[in-house]
Symmetry: C2
Amino acid sequence: MVTTTSSADEHMHNIQTVRRKVEHELKLNISVAELSPLHQQRLLYIPRMPPLLRGAFRVAFGDRTSAAYDVEEIEKRFPKLFGQPVVKIVPNSGGPVTIGKKLRIGVVLSGGPAPGGHNVISGLFDHLQERNKDSELIGFVNGPSGIIDCNYHILTSESIDPFRNQGGFHLLGSGRTKIETVEQFAMAREAAKKCELDGLVFVGGDDTNTNAMLLAEDFKAYNIDTKVIGVPKTIDGDLRNTYIETSFGFDTAVKVYSELVANLGYDASSAKKSYHFCRLMGRSASHITLETALQTHPNMAVIGEEVEANRQSLLSVVSDIADLVVERSKLGKDFGVVIIPEGLVEFMPDMNKLISCLNDHLASNGSSSNDPTEAVKMLDNQERELFNSLPTDFQTQLLLDRDPHGNVRLSQTESERLLITMTKSELKKRSEYKGTFSAISHFFGYEGRCSLPTNFDCNYCYALGHTSAALIEAGCTGYVATVSNLTTLPEQWECGGYPLTVMMNMERRKGKMVPVIKKALISLEDPAFKIYAKQREAWRLTEDYRCPGPIQHSGNMSEELNFTLVANSEMSN
Amino acid sequence: MVTTTSSADEHMHNIQTVRRKVEHELKLNISVAELSPLHQQRLLYIPRMPPLLRGAFRVAFGDRTSAAYDVEEIEKRFPKLFGQPVVKIVPNSGGPVTIGKKLRIGVVLSGGPAPGGHNVISGLFDHLQERNKDSELIGFVNGPSGIIDCNYHILTSESIDPFRNQGGFHLLGSGRTKIETVEQFAMAREAAKKCELDGLVFVGGDDTNTNAMLLAEDFKAYNIDTKVIGVPKTIDGDLRNTYIETSFGFDTAVKVYSELVANLGYDASSAKKSYHFCRLMGRSASHITLETALQTHPNMAVIGEEVEANRQSLLSVVSDIADLVVERSKLGKDFGVVIIPEGLVEFMPDMNKLISCLNDHLASNGSSSNDPTEAVKMLDNQERELFNSLPTDFQTQLLLDRDPHGNVRLSQTESERLLITMTKSELKKRSEYKGTFSAISHFFGYEGRCSLPTNFDCNYCYALGHTSAALIEAGCTGYVATVSNLTTLPEQWECGGYPLTVMMNMERRKGKMVPVIKKALISLEDPAFKIYAKQREAWRLTEDYRCPGPIQHSGNMSEELNFTLVANSEMSN
């Protein structure tokens, strides 16, 4: 999976890189004395990207588009912008490098942080500066609420340089506010006018990009001349489709988790006395768990989408785990590694039903009710039985950890501990089992959201930043910036934009049908899943743990692509 | 802290390295197709070490030694071996490279795994092979119980090569059995005779090295001609003294944890809504927490030894944390990072007393008692009040999670959750506090014990392996192998051995006074602590998080030493 290039190309690339590195170092606007050596080194990294983004390009418009599903309804919701053409950035062969327009662009980071966000910003900034020194980049603070409150900074080299190729979203901060109400839309229009924005870039997941599309339509309807562009971010990897090859941050985050899970495999096989149960982030989709499985070869990985496809109950999953423990124990192995996705219980039909009944009852009780056990009394027999069969800790979590809407806060429920407790009980019923079951629980999520981005995420995000600015200059609005052909060299990547409407469908949210971007769940037909399904049997009873190691930021090892991206690209080719 | 060398030296070193790398690759006895690229690359890494270990050396004996404390008593316990001289491996200038004796050496890995263990083994193996092709290395399986059961493999290139520079202890497995009873000592003597061992190398922490010394004395007393050598291992960093500059594994493990803690710092300052409370391994000593603090600059680090020195109660530590939260909240910052050592509650005089009372009562109840709450009834008023003030979860953990001796299993108690719960309560009492306290708990420990060792740990362990074999060939027994001068280039490291008795004192264990190696706790006078104490005030209210990043295995970044090692070496110079 290491990308290669011809030596002549490589030579040219190296010369250009060295030259730019020296220029870059000279202009770096920060004191580096207090930074860690790797932090300093990463500040000097020059992201690789298609050379055409550096000026000699033009924007080509393709055919009119449609929507993924519910075409009529989507068209009705977006009368102004539905059906816009695909946009591609192409070489302006023979034409001169033109000076760009003077632009004022706003950027906002939305939702959970993901490695690479700062490079979207530096990409935007550099593109604007390279095209026209008088352009300005405005950073809205703490997520979309920064737009509503008109809370922003004008970004300069001084403010951006210390964040080049660094993890986190802390240059601007992030937030989860959405622009939803009539008042909020009005305030966003005011902000766009007040800040004289030519464009506004939303960096976020499926919800944020949906929100960007709604705002683009709203601006158009009110004749606000601010173009709105989305950038696909999420470590979960579920913002991906025919148009978006991967969301940024996934590559880095899975590699952080994979290193840790692999270490736990070796820990299990060294100490030989414990199972490590690891829950990994990814609530709606199990891409992180699947990629981590391919990277590390755990004894068992539970994939939510497969559990759902097979309509497996909680007890059935527990029984599978107990089978593994019993079989390994027969070989004298009372240790191993099991990984599960954060959203696992939501994929189980029985638990899903229980949770949605609880949510309904909790909601109907209203937040004024202090006694959530009332909701349990209102359950049907079947659900009440399931609820009563759960360990007390977990019952408490289901009832007490509720989000601001009153819903069960599943991301906080410790399903890895639930599985450990229930596996223990299940093993007591297995008369053939003579082993000792000791298990240690782990949750890996927050650790990977702000880590130093891989070279892939640095390059990808930097190109996304450039592309977003180019789309705005070309007058595009209601588009997601795309960089594709990602399994080739960054110099060969293709850049452009797809109308956000092409990836939308209608879904029920809070009781209403609304247009949203369809989340990409794992399909059992996905090449990545098939590769896993073919190998997993071999991992069950052996210790075929694979050691990807920590992310390397220089040398050959720094150019490794993740399995999911490569497998998916093979599917589309 | 990057070590440097003159360019001529570097050039020579490079030529030698390249030449050896090619030889090494040709002789590598494994199929690498299924391994990750970094795994493959690390297999080819040639550890750096003092060139004199490659043959042109002799062993020099120094002055007679004594013990750290309780000299008379230690001498009485080790009548045969007390007072042996310090041993140094020195260049055999002018002398020929002699062919070594044909030796048969056993090696055993003991206790929790630590990065680098496999390089002790490859160092031992290569040393034996380089000195005499007919020598044999025997690996005892699953810890010291492998000796008692005479369960071993003869190690060959085929078995060792796939583990070079790799993390984990899984080549042999580890275990926590000690050789303690009269029968176990007799069985160990039998094993030594049956396997015709010239030497036996114990890779382990303070307890294991104490055990090695007892066995050395026993073998001597029974005229068993097997030399016993200890190798200082522990990620906790508490096996360290005038003679041992650091234990192996600490360097790698702290760097794994530091990357994660730093990521959480950026996560906190990006999302701006949560505190991350991280408990870090290190039960008896807080070196890991201190080093992680120096690497990452958290808003607060609680150092167990300081809590003990100041005789801080649980409530007092909670109050300190609440002060931090209140002060940050006044600045609009309801987020941050707090790190604590695994063994924190044991350093609090009130909690320590409570736990030891509970242990006494639980022990006097015997394991037959099914009702641990009886032990609570037997507490004095003051302890019972403290117990009752603890959150219910934590009460349950204290009573139910008990080790095989019936003692409270503190490593499993989630003190980070205890502090979160109690901080929440404390904040309710602070009328000036208007913020929102949301906290996420983490425990980092197992993730770092088996990770790919840093170049430092690879080199250090490889040199320790060579040194151990050299000591055995020179007829030394009851020594710890030492490699010192560690902040210089590996080529300039000094190798030798210290009699294990020099670092012993008498301590009460299970009601009896026994000779043990004194654990190295943090002293408030340690340079590393002083550096931290001087800086920490600046970290409280800012987000001066430092990003060490993931461990890099090649390039300049791979040669970074940890702060604790450098600071301590400055103390001794």
